[in-house]
Amino acid sequence: MTGAATRTQPRPLAPFLLAAPATLLFVGLILLPLALTAVLSFNVYDYSSGVRNQYTTANYLTVLQDPYYLAIFWRTLRLALLTTVIAVLLGTPEAYILTRMGKPWRSIFLLVIIGPLLVSVVVRTFGWSMLLGRDGLVNHALAVLGLEPVQLLYTETAIVIALVHIMLPFMVIPVWTALQKLDPTVEAAALSLGASRFTALRRVVFPQATLGILSGSLIVFGLSASAFAIPGLLGGRRLKMAATVVYDEYLIELNWPLGAAIAIIVLLANLAIMLAYNRMVERQAKRRLG
């Protein structure tokens, strides 16, 4: 009796102790640096004496009033959205085809899809700059066809192409997971009721993958909006995105507080957009799909 009682006695500290390692990691690697960055963003910066121990909101006001920064924010938002939309349009059918593949091919193509993630971002991006450059493969191909060469490198197009390339796996995998859970006879039911294959996909199959598309889009949008290497290498000196301008402020201008302010603004904007999008899609999907 007493033995059993001691064994089942609640230990109020146990959950906290068990959660401690993860909590420490989270606090140490995410919350602390974030808090330091937030504090830094309110520090006064002086070109002659550097960061001073005084506080001001001037950094935020500078960023939010300067058309140069606003244009960069706008571009970041635009390119991240465009990348997300293209990734949804390419990734969803791709995931569907993957679910329909037979035994050996599915694993092979899954590997092909994850392929870009296995190559270092720098190598992959240099690869794109060689393909898209003035003297690159794309322009050679156009020349063979008798067309004018086009300026691709250091344009937004180049950034979006390279972003979509690396983001596709993050879209395909959640959508594929969602599609795998579907009952294949539901599609057959749509066909038997007179739907064409395309209509069956559009009206019946893809709507059921809404939550997979939602999580895919959130990952892709978040990663694209904070992408650094791709805009840095393919956008050149002129075409800045949020992450590259933060880098500039820190390492070229040495204005850390201003860089920190930009980083915080981008973080908050990203968070607001993603939360709003999540609320919107999830509310619709919730009641239907449970």
Binding site: D183, A188, S192
Partner: protein, 357 residues
């Protein structure tokens, strides 16, 4: 010529024949069941009719029109899948309206037809629910409504009742038959449950290993099964090893050391035979003068009847005794067994096919 006709239809998966030489003629308005154990090719047959699986050989005609290679959408048959396959992201009304939408029926007319069919299946009050907010029986009725609303020439049901609990299954069985009668639609139902097939079908098609073994009305199927497989699959049966003894007066069968006179309606080749007799056809009698006798080895009470097992010289025999008040002999008691000689089937032991019908 039947309304729906299958001629020599086969489906091969590589070397394996899921369905072989399937021949069936179905009249307009008939309720047909495909009955057989799991894996015998029932679903494959149904899906070939629906157009979801392409036959390897053979021909399927509907009302004289060859539909063997037609797309499922063109055939316009109503299909109810085993899992119901409802669209989870659509309400009941939207699910039912889908087929009409595909047929470009105007909104007002669509709403009218959806309301009509939902009242037929008694789901009017649940029109705005999503499938996951409903019980199994309700989902099943949505699936039936969705298949019926397009006014298909044939309704195909794949194990429509197998996901329901026993009590609901019994209710839905008769509900299904009622709906079928009201609409007057030609219906093919797949099932592995013989009670279901017998109770609501006009004709039952028994399948085994991809082939048809018997097509008959439920009563004749039960009373005159063509082989041992059918007599054990459709209802229960006792099998007794027997030997034919030709005599001047007719035929008598020797079971163990008792001679049983059998009306001479067929010719029995000398050799091993198999007698099959259903448990409910056997009567308990005084051991003296009975066909067989022995001690009761087990006795179970099943509510409306008792199930006894009796150890006789011819083997263990199951006997079903209606619960008429007085309890039957208990375990260990010696009892005699008798049945009308016309009630048992005689089959050749090795071929397992009917010699007498």
């Amino acid at each position: 010529m039947g309304f729906l006709q299958l001629e020599q239809v086969s489906k091969l998966y590589g070397e394996f024949a899921a369905v072989r030489d399937f021949d069936l003629e179905i009249e307009r308005g008939e309720f047909i069941s495909l009955l057989g154990p799991s894996g015998c090719g029932k679903t494959t047959t149904l899906q070939m009719i629906a157009g979801l699986v392409t036959p390897t050989n053979g021909r399927i005609t509907l009302d004289g029109r060859d539909i063997t290679r037609e797309k499922p959408a063109r055939r316009g048959l109503g299909v109810v899948f085993q899992s119901y396959a409802l669209f989870p992201h659509m309400t009941v009304a939207q699910n039912v309206a889908f087929g009409l939408e595909m047929r470009k029926v105007a909104k007002a007319e669509r709403d009218r037809q959806v309301a009509e069919i939902l009242s037929l299946v008694k789901l009017t009050s649940l029109a705005d629910r999503y499938p996951r907010e409903m019980s199994g029986g309700q989902r099943q009725r949505v699936a039936i409504a969705r298949a019926l609303v397009i006014k298909p020439p044939v309704l195909l049901l794949d194990e429509p009742l197998s996901n329901l609990d026993a009590k609901l299954r019994e209710e839905m069985q008769f509900e299904l038959r009622r709906i079928q009668r009201v609409v007057g639609i030609t219906t093919i139902m797949v099932t592995h449950d013989q009670a279901e097939a017998l109770s609501i079908s006009d004709r039952v098609v028994v399948m085994e290993g991809g082939k048809i073994t018997q097509v008959d009305h439920p009563y004749s199927l039960y009373e005159h099964p063509k082989n041992n497989f059918i007599s054990s699959f459709v209802g229960k049966s006792n099998f007794l090893a027997a030997r034919a003894m030709n005599e001047a007066t007719g035929v008598s069968l020797r079971v163990d050391n008792t001679d049983l006179k059998i009306p001479a309606t067929g010719s029995y080749p000398g050799g091993e035979l198999c007698l099959s007799v259903r448990p409910e056809k056997i009567r308990l009698t005084d051991p003296a003068g009975a066909m067989l006798h022995g001690p009761v080895s087990s006795r179970y009470f099943l509510g409306n009847h008792w199930l006894l097992s009796v150890s006789t010289p011819a083997g263990e025999i199951s006997v079903a005794v209606a619960n008429l008040g007085a309890p039957p002999p208990s375990e260990g008691d010696i009892t005699g067994l008798t049945w009308n000689i016309e009630e048992c089937r005689v089959l050749a032991a090795e071929q397992e096919s009917a010699l007498q019908s």
